[in-house]
Structure formats: structure tokens, C-alpha cells
């Protein structure tokens, strides 16, 4: 938890080398994904984001076991963000909603997640609408 005397920081006490290795691997995947996205390689970028999301989920579970709550929130929200960037909006929304259900979430992070969730829900709405019209158009072309 936060320790005001030493400044506001996130505790990472007691994390082993296996955790650090996974954390580094996940970070490299996100950097790679961002580079691939900028170069227009959307599928490869999505693959990297999905892999990073799975690692973030595992990391957050280990943080919960260790009681590192603030760091748990960082990695859990990062997992949701990675799922969204991989195109799995459903999973991203579910994870954001789970985080918002926590009473120990800080106000700043709560606002950030609420904003993110609003964007995700709007995107899902757009996707539903365009999917129905695309499928309908396809059926009309075939008949």
C-alpha cells in the first residue's frame, strides 16, 4: 500500500525473479505490439497484445495472493487494456466491471477505468450496429 512518509509509490516488496522475468516479457510484448501497430501489422500486434494480456492476468493473480493490492490493480487494468487492444472487447469490459466492483479501488483509478469502460461500451455498440448491417447486406447480395 501507499507509504506517504517515503512518498507515493506502488509496493513491489517480495517479488521473486520469476515474477520480474514475466513482467519484463510482458512489457517487451506491449512495446513490440505498439511498433507493429504503427507499421500497420494489425494481426501481429493483436497477437502480441493477447499474449501480454494473458501474462498480466497471471501476474495479477500472483499479486493478489501476495496481498500487493495497488500493484494488483495496475496489472489487472493493464490486462483489460491489452485485451481491448487485442480486439477482445468483451473480456476487457468484464475485467473493468470487476475492478469497479471493488470498494478498495482508489478514486483516481476508478475514474480512469470508468472512462475506459465508457469507450469500450461505445465501441461495442458501434460494432453490433455495423455487424448487423454488414451481415444483412451480405445476405441480400447472396439472395
Amino acid at each position: 500500500m501507499m507509504d506517504r512518509q517515503k512518498g507515493q509509490a506502488i509496493s513491489r516488496k517480495g517479488l521473486d525473479s520469476a515474477f520480474v522475468e514475466e513482467e519484463t516479457r510482458k512489457s517487451n510484448l506491449i512495446l513490440e505490439a505498439n511498433l507493429l501497430k504503427e507499421r500497420g501489422h494489425r494481426q501481429e500486434a493483436a497477437d502480441r497484445f493477447a499474449e501480454a494480456a494473458q501474462i498480466e492476468e497471471r501476474l495479477s493473480e500472483r499479486l493478489a495472493e501476495k496481498g500487493l493490492v495497488d500493484k494488483y490493480f495496475v496489472h489487472r487494468f493493464s490486462a483489460a487494456s491489452c485485451w481491448a487492444q487485442a480486439g477482445n472487447i468483451y473480456q476487457a469490459i468484464v475485467m473493468c466491471e470487476e475492478l469497479l466492483a471493488r470498494s478498495d479501488l482508489s478514486e483516481g483509478l476508478r475514474q480512469r477505468i470508468q472512462g475506459h469502460l465508457q469507450i469500450l461500451r461505445a465501441r461495442r455498440e458501434q460494432w453490433f450496429v455495423s455487424l448487423v448491417s454488414d451481415v444483412t447486406a451480405e445476405v441480400m447480395l447472396e439472395s
Binding site: Q8, I10, R12, L15, K26, V74, S81, Q85, H116
Partner: protein
């Protein structure tokens, strides 16, 4: 883009040298900073910014404001690099809670 990556490279040198920490992981888009830095005990935010000729002080002031809006409520470091004059500002900034 090249300026941004070059500034990140310099920040990777400044962090262990002046903060006695290392770069741990990249932050997520929208986090209001670029990287998480720390040691074995604690983690802080790091925002990196590079410019060719722009004023270091002006950029620094703007980035302090940005960093202090981070959603995690944590303190953080700023590494601002001006390539034309080979100058840099590396500063520690307390999180300021806004009502």
C-alpha cells in the same frame, strides 16, 4: 518518433545514475506517463520527452502537470531531453491530489 525513442534511450541511462532505480515496464496508453521505474521495493512513474530545439523549461512545466494527473496517485520522475544543445532535466515530482 525517432526523438521519442532517442529520449527513452537517454532516460534509461539517467534513471540508474540519478534515481538508483531501473526501468521495470512500459505503461499503458492513457496512463499519463511512459514507464514504471523502481527497485526491489517500490515503483514510480517515469515520463520521457524529447525535443530538438524547444525550451526545456516550458516542456518540463507541461509534463509536470501531465504526470501529476496520473490515475495511480503516485510520485514520478521526468526526463526531458533537448538534443540541439545536449541538455536534459531529470526531476522528481510529488503527486498532488486535486480536490
Amino acid at each position: 518518433m525517432v526523438t521519442e525513442w532517442a529520449a527513452s534511450g537517454i532516460a534509461c541511462v539517467l534513471v540508474p545514475l540519478y534515481a538508483r532505480m531501473r526501468v521495470l515496464q512500459v505503461a499503458q496508453a492513457g496512463d499519463s506517463f511512459d514507464y514504471w521505474i523502481g527497485d526491489n521495493e517500490r515503483e514510480y512513474a517515469l515520463e520521457v520527452s524529447g525535443t530538438i530545439r524547444e525550451s526545456l523549461e516550458g516542456r518540463h512545466t507541461a509534463k509536470v502537470r501531465q504526470l501529476q494527473k496520473n490515475p495511480y496517485g503516485i510520485d514520478g520522475y521526468l526526463a526531458i531531453i533537448r538534443f540541439a544543445t545536449k541538455e536534459a532535466i531529470f526531476s522528481f515530482n510529488r503527486y498532488e491530489e486535486t480536490a
